[in-house]
Symmetry: D2
Subunit: 309 residues, 4 copies
């Protein structure tokens, strides 16, 4: 037999838009199936290694899941002087909780994910992601629609940090109403006086409209937003985040405070240091201009923003 | 979520040559793994339905496995007036044995396949193929190299029909020496006086060289060969067979004898009738000419013919 | 640079259905552009060689255009004892006319094609196809909608042979109304008393519904139809034709008459002989059964049959 | 016909590694052909727009060629207090020269490119790139091997800025010896006392080994290197540059000097501002660590570094 690497036979295509996508070899399939909410695939993919794929979109891979989860979790956590109570929206495979729980200030983490079956699959097949976080006594896992939770608990609970680790707002997908003005207005009521909120915000380079509108939408609710981004090879693009909240800004975090607060983190950071934070928040002109095109374009329950494909 | 349409995410590519191949959606994965001898995949593929894939090549699919197995098995079986003892080389998934065992003349079937693990997988996951043939008391299953069996038993055993259901002769693959002059010379010693031999012979349209050389090689041993072919959509081409033996020719089988002998077959035929046999053996000029280009080109142990990709 | 092998960079995909397609390397681009009616590409493709592609579908390639054009033209032409007047519907690249004009009985060929620009492109860039047929004084080329021509001329003109070499009936495409009962009823009025009609009929294996419905539709008009097929690698499947007419049947053509009439053909046949005709019309059971599923399903102007993709 | 956007037929694949690549629709082909040195394609590609492709690799596209050329040219040009003489190695399509010539300090630009035919094609078909730069009297275009030029002129000519805009060092490709220690040692002799050198350095994310080794190799010659990077969607990854020279460092360029020197640039900058420079040179930890793996690995004429695929 010829080297199968030459004429390979099973390929995953990650469609970035209707006109382009990324081809990767499927080396191994650990699981393919469907939950009530989405198609779930766990596969070893080309250069990415073991990967979680939901509805055909790579959610994270061993190649760079740390880059993503550290970029999502630690900026808001390090901004807060003493984050004790944390809310995670989504985050089914347990890696966001894993990073949050590393902070020794944390007393309670509420994680709200709608897909019980996915979490069961993750517990069994994605130990590299959760690393036991589901067993941490500080974690309270709720199987529920994040929107319902936010609307029900607004005014009743309070969190120092809220992290949106939700799937992308795809057309007719379950997540479109988790990126709207109405949703964010309710969510704001769940933040403590010094609370920080961050949400993954799709790609500033492949889907700048989505990221720009999320930014504009948050601005109408909080008055300000700090977008930042990192590079995710397994997402085939730059990846964006929008950070906002009641008080603290990423641009105010100086190197000394950063170094001091990193000490809270059991095991330390793997992909981030202070210079990385500077890099993430120093968006170049061509990105700032692209996001700026959507200034004032707001996602609402009646007219939510979504991504094609 | 949009109907994924073309924007589907997992694809199988069946490479026909170094320059072209066939793309199919992977709808479901039942099994992906490796035995000692080959990579084994059992998947639901596009229009093909459930399919067995070995080393990246579709071996058979529910769409048309009957077309293949009936074309392979019944022409030689119906040619023989009373086939009692049958030898199957390869045929791991049990469908060739299934068809042979439908003939009520059959007393003993010896099936020689090298890959014990594949057979275990097939028993469990491919019931549509074997349909219990592995449990038939007339079947003797030997886990062994077909070449070793043929060389060991030549002159000791005798069969009325021998069926080569082997994987294609790929470069450096395990099957290249199962299509050589030396192998066929030994195999001839296993045929009874009226014995018939047929072998799958790759594609006359995609890999005419392979089919043509197998024909030429058999001619040096038996003096004559009747090539025939059918169309296999799941192989993405016409598929070829070479039939030879000690006495009976396909072109001699008249319609009355055909109809009479078909009565031997429990459950009858599904994809064949007499007209189909005429169609299969009436190769059109452009195929006969193509195969004719390899007249006299013989595969030997020292210089075996093989297929690239 | 490494031999690009699979790592080639430009690929053509011929979609057979919504779930599968054929990948081929693009080696050279001679022309890409659009006429008023269709996108036209002339490219050297993988194993196919120079190919004409209309709206993404390979129409013919040097690899096997002779197989297609000889199968389309010569069965009806050889059935007729003295074909003098011939009508070609479509056939823009000139190869169908080329084959018709080889018959020394032919006095007049009317070719009706809607796409003037395509014909100009073909004249310049596809000399291997037309081989000068556009310059034959017996050819009368009309730039017109074939439907309009047939409706206008019914009862006014008479042809011994009519050949439908039209693009497939794609949804919302220009050709759907060239395969309906109303169209065929008018076309019948253009046939002489002994007239023969044949039409390419898409693939019996990839799109059996289309071929089956064309057959059923012709049956309502002519009372009988003889379907036949050949194998076209560049179409990635078996390819079908339906033949009917006022008197002569393919099954009545004996070998002696065939041999006699072939003498009319300047230069002789390249891919056909009498055995090939037998092969083409001896459809195997699994094809006959498939086409039979559409018995009685008729394409009408109000409810025309079409192919997806 | 269905919307061809859904089932598109011609695709370009940009292979990033042996295991993954990027699929893009080919909307239009302006040119496909070969020069003595490389295959040249000019096509409208998916989201990229009009693109120049050499040997299957997108060199630049209208989508983001400005991002690339401004990142390559202006950091070294703005570092130098008075860049009058500039050498460009490669840069065939004229856009690097275009950016250099915008600096009103520039008196002479020598551009050395081996591929005369490519330059002729670019002059005719890529006006958006060169924008007339080939006609600037300050430009001296030499058709020559860059290596030969550097070895011949070392010690005879002197430049304030040298810019390496060469194709990637592919295995057995023409450019592997344009990234070696021996080459850089000679090139250093062409720099003036305050000279700055920058070279495109492949991707820090897809081919970090190549970028890391180029950095290490330059360090052995110059003692220091500043790597920086931007994001290129049309290259499907972050894209890297290594800057070094006799005196000036990017990290020493303060915002005031930057603003002052930008005034030299006719028409100003389109994708860069000071914050973008900070972003480009603030490599995050996961990139610095990756490049750091190749510390001390040096490319030499005898053992040059190269990229597979």
């Amino acid at each position: 037999m010829k080297d199968p690497g030459m004429y390979y036979w099973n390929w995953h295509v990650e469609w970035d838009t209707l006109d382009d996508g990324h081809l990767t070899k499927i080396f191994k399939v650990h699981f393919i199936g469907s939950t009530k909410y989405q198609q779930v695939e766990i596969m070893d993919l080309g250069v990415y290694g073991k990967s979680l794929v939901l509805d055909g979109k790579i959610q994270s891979s061993l190649l760079d899941e740390k880059v993503y989860h550290e970029a999502l979790v630690h900026p808001p956590m390090l901004l807060h002087p003493n984050p004790r109570r944390v809310l995670i929206l989504g985050g089914g495979e347990g890696a966001t909780a894993r990073e949050v729980l590393k902070h020794n200030t944390v007393e309670k983490v509420v994680m709200v994910d709608i897909d019980r079956e996915l979490i069961e699959i993750a517990k069994k097949l994605l130990p590299e992601w959760h690393q036991g976080s589901f067993d941490d006594v500080r974690l309270e896992l709720l199987i529920s629609d994040a929107r319902k939770y936010v609307f029900d608990m607004a005014g009743k609970e309070e969190f120092d940090v809220i992290i949106g680790d939700l799937v992308d707002p795809l057309e007719a997908g379950p997540a479109v109403k988790l990126y709207t003005r109405e949703f964010y207005a309710k969510l704001r009521e769940l933040l403590s006086n010094e609370g920080v909120f961050v949400t993954q915000s799709t790609s500033p380079t492949s889907t700048p409209r989505a990221m720009g509108v999320i930014k504009s939408t948050l601005e109408t609710v909080f008055g300000w937003v700090e977008p930042y981004m990192t590079y995710m090879r397994s997402f085939d693009s730059m990846w964006g985040f929008n950070l906002t909240g009641m008080k603290y800004k990423l641009s105010m975090l100086d190197e000394e405070t950063f170094r001091e607060r990193v000490k809270r983190i059991r095991g330390g950071l793997h992909t981030l240091d202070y210079q990385s934070i500077v890099w993430m928040r120093s968006l170049p002109l061509f990105i700032r201009r692209k996001l700026g095109e959507y200034r004032g374009v707001v996602s609402t329950d009646n007219d939510p923003v979504f991504i094609e494909v």
